[in-house]
């Protein structure tokens, strides 16, 4: 049995604002029956452009119903600008927290609110250029990126808890990991305080060990850090790489690219003179 807070239970047993607003100003539907939860959300504004009425209909677990109920209560009286700032975290906090595996219920509430506001403003209902990553639950890269950013997620399991992506067949787990890596790399402040030489060397060593050596070793090669002078990274190639004609290309396109991505965009790689 799930450990629901009293507030979740209370909102599930006595949900507020069930139904559909008549002549709504904004309306949205998110989720699907195949996914196991879905939410139809609508709101109406008063003369001061504040949310006068918000209602929901939800198919899903107790926490999905409670999240929807909480959302409609939270946003009453807000302007759309204020409502647009409500995040899934706020919904979960309002309910005194949700089990990790149920965080996607709060994300569904936030999505519905956002789409209903877009619907009111006449903005495009679908994000353009978003790509489906999780086929089982129809989750896009945009949705995953956003959940990672807003909730500071670091693992695939967390992404699944928040977005459901990866919770079906699991084939997209590698793709999710790539998105996590990308978002977290971006999240590193680019104008960050300059790395000291020691920090830089440590980070290069770490990147070599974790990200680069495993790939090289797969082909029987290896790499050794000889020196770091300013932004010049001096390395020696070992094993199969030493006799490989393509090792220059590997160094530039793979090793240098990885180090620029993970450590600093200013790095240049050089092979130690034989």
């Amino acid at each position: 049995m799930w450990e629901y807070t009293d507030k979740v239970k209370e909102h599930f047993l006595n949900p507020r604002n069930v139904g559909e607003v008549e002549n709504p100003d904004g309306i949205a539907e998110v989720g699907s029956i195949a996914c196991g939860d879905a939410l139809k959300f609508s709101f109406k504004l008063d003369e001061n452009k504040r949310i006068k009425e918000a209602k929901f209909k939800t198919f899903g677990c107790a926490s999905a119903i409670a999240s929807s109920s909480a959302l409609t209560e939270m946003i009453k009286g807000m302007t759309l600008e204020e409502a647009a700032k409500v995040t899934n975290k706020d919904i979960a906090e309002y309910l005194g927290g949700l089990p990790d595996e149920k965080m996607h219920c709060s994300v569904m509430g936030q999505e519905a609110l956002e789409k209903a506001i877009e619907n009111y403003r006449g903005a495009p209902a679908k994000e353009t250029g978003a790509k489906i990553v999780c086929e089982c639950f129809g989750v896009t890269d945009r949705e995953i990126e956003r959940a990672i950013r807003e909730n500071d997620l670091t693992t695939v399991e967390e992404v699944t808890n928040y977005t459901k992506a990866g919770g079906g067949c699991g084939n997209c787990k590698d793709a999710i990991q790539e998105i996590i890596d990308r978002v977290r790399a971006e999240a590193k402040p680019s104008g960050a305080p300059k790395l000291t030489n020691i920090q830089k060397i440590r980070k290069i060593e770490e990147a070599l060990e974790k990200e680069i050596r495993p790939s090289l070793r797969h082909d029987g090669g290896d790499i050794e850090l000889i020196d770091v002078i300013g932004n010049r990274v001096i390395v020696a190639v070992r094993g199969a790489c030493a006799s490989c004609k393509a090792s220059d290309i590997t160094l530039k396109h793979f090793v240098e690219a990885k180090l620029r991505d993970l450590v600093s965009p200013d790095l240049n790689i050089e092979e130690v003179a034989p």
């Binding site: 949900p15 939860d37 879905a38 198919f59 899903g60 677990c61 107790a62 699944t160 079906g168």
Partner: protein, 393 residues
């Protein structure tokens, strides 16, 4: 409020007679049955009696019974023994609707270089026997098919399947955790090589399981240790639980008739009344080839977790195959294998009865459930559209 317990495929209450039989072996009769002194010897005598009671329930001989810690251990021991005694064979045949004790074990073995075929089931949850025949190869070490499904109660023709496997010289194992005690089983009349079951599904405590291994079947132990269970399962015997299981098997044999008359009637009443009172509901799984105590009913357009929690307000206990309750984000693998549509699979509830249920309890559920479904449907965005389309046609 009294608990209405309709979740007996999950676990059962320990029968009062079973508890009574066990208690002395927790306190004054704590001897080790392997000891030379008569203080331990009296426990060994009681164990022999229990082994006889267990064997008798399934028409086995006592030395074909190995006590284990649970159904999962029995399943693991059986499959691993089949592979260990046939090291030249790497193929396992099972079904898509097995309990995780077999399903996850299969996935684990597949990762270690074995080949696993999971036979599909039909819409009613029954096996395609021709597919079974077609799946067998000279490389097949063992066929493992559950006797009765824990979620739907659907009964597989395992006795026939065992014969098919034997024609090709292949071992046959069955996970009979849900079947033993609910339907007559006589190992003298079939060719099944190994059979697993578990105490806590038939009113014995949790933590005791049985693996039946037919005399003459080569066996390689899973738990290696002392000479207990004739060297087939090391570890000091769980004497109170074995003695409790003996009593539970004796009771089960006595209750088998009740199980197939009174319990079946209550199950049928519950099912018929719910289907009649709740529109857009249906039974999952074949209703003929089925355990007498189980019904799996889907209520379209609602989610199982909500149903369970609202029933919980009345202390009614059941379970669901919905995604929300499974923790896996997808509805039950059994319902998916049967091709149950998503609109139905998410709203599936399993009721499983026991001889301890009363007609008053069943009437209580029949009274309380329809408004629960109605309430959740009134909240569901799908229900209005469906109801609307119905009104116009």
């Amino acid at each position: 409020m009294k608990t209405v317990y309709l979740d007996n495929n999950a676990t059962t209450q320990v029968a009062p007679e079973v508890l009574e039989a066990m208690l002395p072996y927790f306190s004054e009769l704590y001897g080790n049955p392997s000891s030379m002194h008569s203080f331990g010897g009296q426990v060994a005598r009681k164990l022999r009696e229990a082994r006889g009671q267990v064997a008798s329930l399934i028409g086995a001989s006592p030395d074909e019974i190995i006590f284990t810690s649970c159904g999962t251990e029995s399943d693991n021991a059986a499959i691993r023994s089949a592979l260990a005694t046939h090291p030249e064979r790497r193929h396992i045949v099972t079904s898509r609707v097995e309990h995780p004790a077999i399903k996850s074990l299969g996935a684990n073995l597949a990762g270690q270089g074995h080949r696993v075929t999971e036979l599909a089931v039909e819409k009613n949850g029954l096996l395609d026997m021709e597919a079974l025949v077609a799946s067998l190869t000279p490389d097949t070490a063992v066929v493992s098919l559950m006797w009765a499904n824990n979620e739907t109660g659907v009964v597989f023709p395992v006795e026939k399947a065992a014969e098919i496997a034997h024609e090709k010289g292949i071992l046959f194992h069955t996970d009979a955790v849900q079947a033993v005690g609910k339907m007559p089983i006589d190992m003298k009349k079939n060719a099944i090589d190994m059979l697993s079951f578990s105490g806590h599904k038939l009113h014995a405590p949790k933590g005791i399981g049985v693996l039946y291994v037919r005399k003459g079947t080569r066996f390689s132990p899973f738990l290696i240790g002392g000479h207990q269970e004739k060297g087939r399962r090391g570890g000091t015997e769980n004497t109170p639980s074995i003695i409790g299981l003996g009593k539970a098997c004796e009771l089960a044999a006595r209750h088998l008739e009740t199980e197939n008359t009174a319990v079946r009637n209550l199950r049928d009443k519950l099912e018929t009344e719910l289907l009649a009172r709740i529109p857009r509901s249906r039974v999952n799984g074949d209703t003929k080839e089925r355990l007498p105590n189980t019904t799996n009913i889907s209520f379209e357009h609602v989610e199982g977790e909500g149903i369970l929690l609202l029933m919980n307000e009345y202390n009614i206990c059941a379970s669901s195959g919905s995604a929300c309750t499974s923790g896996s984000l997808q509805p039950s693998h059994v319902l998916r294998a049967m091709g149950v549509p998503f609109t139905m699979a998410h709203g599936s509830i399993r009721f499983s009865l026991s001889v301890y249920n009363t007609e008053a309890e069943i009437d209580f559920v029949i009274e309380k459930l329809p408004p629960i479904i109605e309430r959740l449907r009134s909240m569901s965005p799908y229900w209005t559209s469906v109801a609307g389309s119905c009104a116009t046609t």
